[in-house]
């Protein structure tokens, strides 16, 4: 077994801390974006109005255009549009990228220091899990305008980093024999990617519910103007969840295979297995809800939210308090 590289390990810890602070800055900028959304929208509307009145005046007609609440500033396909200027959100994205780079270095350094996959205990699982969430987010940002969930994503990542460094600090070391398996890499990494996507769609479903209510009351104002329509949010969270569900199914199967190799039985209703199954069933219900009359829209959004809450429960309460064969590993 390769000895632990202590220098690299201490760099890793330092960069985890640095990354956390940068995430905090990103979170603040995204929050600033929400706070100023109302103003930005008004400004754009005023510009459009003057533009319009100029044209109309030029054409000799009366200026009767009024600020129109139903005007859409965002694409329902979440494409980038030249609508509202959102400097704060753009800075937030840029800072998020820097944080992710620092974070990525910290996680990789940790793995290299121990010469293994850097998710052998709860601290490592949370820090690398947070990294995956923020990478998944940045990858989606390349193609889709998901700035509207920036506050949520940077907030969750920040929370996970804080929980890891404050709640479960663990010095780097080799893992016990039970975790020395190829399945540690596949089973856990796929689970983490699925979790990253599920957390994105959770944010979308929450926004969907808020937006839906606003749409119903014709009171879509401020930041909500910059959020895609509730229908678009529903469609997109379904699409993303379809990917995450496949990954979660794989997690379940890979976990069973590993359990068979380590303990001799592929399924034993261990607390962690139970919750992985419960989450799988909830998201299966979510996917079916789309094909069930009366279950689309609000209800399926609530199902998605329930699924994510079960996921969080699984990674927190079940890990820490439930007796389980998985608990020695910290996840």
């Amino acid at each position: 077994m390769t000895p632990v590289n202590e220098t690299l390990a201490s760099y890793s810890e330092l960069f985890m801390l640095i990354a956390s602070f940068i995430y905090l800055a990103a979170f603040l900028f995204f929050s600033w974006d929400i706070a100023t959304a109302s103003k930005a929208v008004k400004k754009l509307e005023a510009e459009i109005a003057t533009e319009r009145s100029k044209q109309l005046v030029g054409a000799g007609g009366p200026a009767m255009d009024q600020p129109n609440q139903s005007r859409q500033f965002v694409s329902d396909d979440m494409e980038y549009t030249d609508g509202v200027k959102r400097p704060a959100a753009n800075i937030g994205v840029a800072i998020m990228l820097i944080a992710t780079l620092a974070h990525g270095f910290a996680v990789i350094a940790r793995g290299m220091a121990a010469s293994r996959a850097p998710w052998g205990n709860l601290y490592e699982f949370m820090t690398s899990g947070a990294l995956v969430i923020s990478v998944v987010y940045l990858v989606f940002l390349l193609r889709k305008d998901l700035r509207f969930v920036g506050t949520f994503v940077s907030g969750v990542v920040l929370l996970m980093m804080m929980a890891a460094t404050v709640g479960f600090p663990t010095p780097v070391g080799n893992v016990q024999p039970a975790l020395q398996s190829w399945w540690l890499i596949t089973h856990v990494s796929v689970a983490v990617i699925a979790t990253g996507i599920f957390s994105l769609t959770f944010a979308m479903s929450v926004l969907q519910l808020i937006k839906q209510r606003a749409e119903k009351n014709h009171s879509v104002t401020g930041f909500m103007r910059l959020v895609p329509s509730s229908l678009a949010l529903e469609n997109w969270s379904y699409r993303l969840n379809a990917i995450a569900f496949v990954l979660w199914t794989f997690t379940l199967i890979a976990g069973s295979i590993w359990a068979e190799q380590a303990w001799g039985r592929y399924w034993n209703w261990d607390a962690k297995e139970v919750w992985t199954f419960v989450i799988w069933v909830i998201y299966a219900g979510y996917l079916h809800a789309r094909a069930t009359r009366g279950w689309t829209g609000t209800r399926s959004a609530w199902l998605n939210i329930t699924g994510f809450l079960a996921l969080v429960f699984n990674y927190t309460i079940v890990n820490v308090y439930f007796p389980s064969l998985h608990s020695y590993a910290g996840f």
Partner: protein
């Protein structure tokens, strides 16, 4: 069945049955059952389960005299074999079959049928396009042949009709959907079969000792419901050596176990040639489909006890249970029922690296055996093995015994290094710490149905991907002649999810544009 019966009011009964069947196989019921299954699985993680450890359940019931029996009656301690949990998943299975069977038949039918007939107005479809070809372009009939070729290439099943082409694609989506659910059924069926034919057992083996695969050799054994003893594969194994590698480099994890290796002599069948193999964590030993897993280990001090009459009353290894895995201090319980005139009992600790601090208390300071010592109390009297009450080998009931040695009495405790002998007070005999070995705890599992479970689980995963990502589409192309030009109209319809329909339209349009001499549209009537 007579005709009289069918015309009797049983129609109402059959009608009710049909109504219930329709309800059960409806999507909404399936969804409710699915969500109910998720809720029903939760209590099994909240409360101790008998399948994991019956003694924890009994303790729980004793600690909660009011709630305990009620919860027990509700099956909260056997959730996954309880009637209500079984009812939910059985109903779900029935609902699944009732839902899939007609869908499967319907799909088989549609596989044999040509693509849906061409709608009158293609411009009412969600994606529609129109193009006019140059006068020297292909005739309408020729254009339709081209269009059919293009659609075929795009994976459509096509039919050339009078004036139009009908095309449909994505039949595998429904096949994937049906196979996914079929795979889940397969998983459940094979899990059930596993309950019939599998067996599992536990065995502790000390270095140098062996194990033959028959019922009496096991420390504990759980057979499947259709198990019979001749199903046991007649192999034998012997633990030659058990090696532990400790971390000696790390400052923070010094002494952490990094690797366990059990070296085994394996005789796969009586009379067969013996070979050497190893068992590691995550790397079991497989003989004839029977898998042996390394799930525990510890120290087994070899102890010899002579009794008050001077006879050897016990000689052999004693399994010590690890209490503190950081330093491997282990609990030793030794019952010597053969000792005369008084039965003897010993309780204490095995310390692999013993160190006595200033307070006179010996502790272990390393998990490896650098300075092994036995720290024991002794008792004499009736061990109680004859009372008929089943006893735990790891607990000595001292109620009917008299304390002989202890830190708290004048005789003091017993401290033995390797090779030391201690003479018990009052001529009760002697105890000798001869040497020590390591032992391994093995789980033995045989479950041939796991291959079936694995196969159907994999099938379900593959089918799931197909059912979620294959897109079902219908497309039609019409061609007609107008003022000497060929006019092409086409439309796309999504069955189910509409994602990407627009992109498909654009792609189709581009193919048309490169195939035919299309007149650029001067009006933007379509996109």
């Amino acid at each position: 069945m007579s005709t009289a019966q069918t015309t009797l009011p049983s129609l109402g009964f059959r009608g009710t049955l049909r109504f219930m069947w329709t309800q059960l196989t409806s999507m909404r019921t399936a969804l409710m059952l699915l969500l109910l299954l998720a809720v029903a699985a939760v209590p099994g993680s909240l409360f101790p389960q008998r399948r994991a450890g019956a003694d924890i359940v009994e303790t729980w019931i004793e600690d909660n005299p009011t709630a305990g029996p009620i919860m027990d009656a509700l099956g909260m301690f056997d959730v996954y074999s309880s009637p209500w949990f079984s009812a939910i998943y059985l109903l779900l299975m029935v609902s699944l079959v009732g839902c899939l069977w007609p869908r499967g038949r319907q799909h088989l039918k549609s596989l044999r049928q040509p693509p849906a007939r061409t709608p009158r107005n293609l411009n009412r479809l969600p994606e529609y396009g129109q193009l006019v070809l140059e006068a020297d372009g292909p005739t309408p009939d020729q254009a339709l042949v081209d269009a059919e070729k293009i659609l075929k290439k795009a994976g459509y099943r096509t039919e050339l009709r009078d004036g139009s082409v009908g095309a449909e694609r994505g039949y595998t989506r429904e096949i994937g959907n049906i196979l996914f659910h079929f795979g889940l059924l397969g998983v459940i069926v094979f899990m059930g079969l596993g309950g019939l034919y599998k067996y599992e057992g536990q065995k502790i083996i000390v270095e140098g000792e062996g194990f033959t695969n028959n019922l009496v050799s096991y420390d504990s054994f759980t057979p499947g419901t259709a198990f019979s003893e001749e199903r046991l594969h007649p192999f034998a194994i012997q633990l030659e050596d058990f090696d532990v590698v400790f971390d000696r480099e790390s400052e923070t994890h010094f002494g952490q176990a990094l690797d366990y290796t059990a070296t085994m002599q394996v005789t796969p069948a009586p009379g067969a040639e013996t070979y050497q193999d190893t068992i590691k964590v995550n790397d079991p030993l497989t003989i004839d489909g029977v898998r042996m897993f390394l799930v525990g280990n510890g120290y087994a001090p070899n102890i010899t006890v002579t009794d008050g009459n001077g006879d050897v009353a016990y000689s052999g290894p004693v399994i010590a249970q690890i209490q503190d895995p950081n330093v491997n201090s282990s609990l030793v319980v030794l019952k010597v029922p053969d000792a005369r005139p008084e039965q003897l009992g010993f309780v204490g600790l095995f310390l692999p690296t013993s160190y006595t601090g200033d307070d006179g208390v010996a502790i272990s300071i390393d998990p490896d055996a650098y300075n092994p010592e036995l720290i024991l109390n002794s008792y004499y009297g009736d061990i109680g093995l004859d009372s008929g009450v089943p006893q735990n080998v790891y607990v000595l009931d001292t109620e009917t015994m008299t304390e002989l040695n202890s830190r708290n009495n004048d005789n003091g405790g017993i401290t033995l290094g390797v090779g030391d002998t201690y003479e018990l007070p009052d001529n009760m005999g002697t105890i000798t710490f001869d040497s020590w070995d390591r032992y391994v705890g093995l789980d033995v599992h045989y479950d041939p149905s796991k291959w079936g479970v694995g196969f159907f689980a994999t099938l379900a995963l593959v089918a799931l991907v197909i059912s979620l990502y294959v897109r079902r589409r219908r497309a039609w192309v019409k061609a007609s002649a107008k003022d000497g030009h060929t006019v092409i109209e086409y439309g796309l319809l999504a069955r189910g999810e509409t994602f990407g329909l627009r992109d498909e339209n654009i792609k189709l349009r581009q193919t048309f544009d490169t195939t035919w001499p299309v007149i650029p549209p001067n009006t933007s009537e379509d996109s």
